[in-house]
Amino acid sequence: MINVSFYLRRLHSLCGLVMLGGVLIEHLLTNASAMGGEAAFNQGLAMMELIPPPIFFAIEICFYAVPLLFHGIYGMYIANQAKNNPTEYGYSRNWKFALQRWTAWYLVVFLIWHVGYLRIYTKGIMGEHISYALVQSTLANPVVFGLYALGMFAAIFHFCNGITTFCMTWGITKGPRSQCVVDKMAMGLCALMCLFTLAFMSSYFIH
């Protein structure tokens, strides 16, 4: 007996938390250097460009593209199996269950735009280097700023709520008390990461 859906589900959970959680934290840390000003940010990017292009490309495929596509595509299949009902059953966990799926749908659209425009079009096709000035001019549009902030908040919530459900799915937290403690810690982390994001995104217009 090979239970394909069992292994896919567990892989989806693991891939989301470990691989994509890593991607999110890497993005937060890299972008946070913008708080140090133009020189600090561009220096960080220059450091990344020291990695030989074929290796860099392989990292992008293995650690970014494949996990993202798998988690995204299988995730859409999972989200379609839910009929969200937080208005009928307005418990906190049920709201988070619905939010997990709503943020997922926003992230599908947001990431197609983000990866498609910045990585594939700007960097890949136009051959432009990502720089402080480029990000600054992109975020100068208040609509773009808003959509990006929302995208970051969605990704952060999806990740943090994912920590709570990961602990349940893998049978780490069994009883209601331990589940509640992890939930509160994850939501605390979510708030911190959102504030941190807002700080480095606004820093472009403070320097």
Binding site: Q81, A82, N94, F97, M168, G171, G175, Q179
Partner: protein, 251 residues
Amino acid sequence: MAEQKKTVKFIIERQDSPTSNPYTQEFEIPYRPALNVVASLMEIQKNPVTTDGKKVAPVVWECNCLEKVCGACMMVINGRARQACCTLIDDLEQPIRLQPARTFPVIRDLLIDRSVMFESLKRVQAWVEVDGSWEVKDAPIQNPYTATTAYEISHCMTCGCCLEACPNVGPQSDFIGASPSVQAYLFNLHPLGKFDKEKRLEALMGKGGITSCGNSQNCVEVCPKNIKLTTYLAQLNRDVNKQALKNIFNK
């Protein structure tokens, strides 16, 4: 003080056949203390006349024990899955909306077909294979603490509240739901039932098994028997993960 008769208003979602379109009708019955939803439906049955004076076919619903033991009268009352027999009118906001639990196929009005849960119980082998019996003194012993847990889970009356409230159970998904999953755990706790533990875990690892749980935790909130469903689901998650490791490395 002007004597005004207190009444209870109902808005009932009705449906004439499994395939016909649902519609609503309003009924009003006299109030009496300690009135519950089943008693109200019986009152409507005596004189099935809507508030606008139309004589209609009596509302169809299902009930048996009238004491929250059989699970048959589960329906959606003011938007929430509950047992009609133990839901007191005094605790409800009026008008009271009654709807069938549409996670299951509707047969007529509030009557639903819950046989899908029986199929799920068969799938997870929710029974103990018995080959003969013992004298009490010779029978395999049961840990009394485990027995306490088993007693709690054995209260499950397959009413289907947990399935109705779960966003992952319904026509859009193949998830069997909390109740049948947790019954697998009950029989895994049994001194003889645990011989088939692996079979039950394998059944739960299949499509629509415990992996389809999305942790919305509505099940534990609505369970009329207060079974700690999410705790046992998490335990089952542990068990199936261990089983998966065994499947990978022991074969």
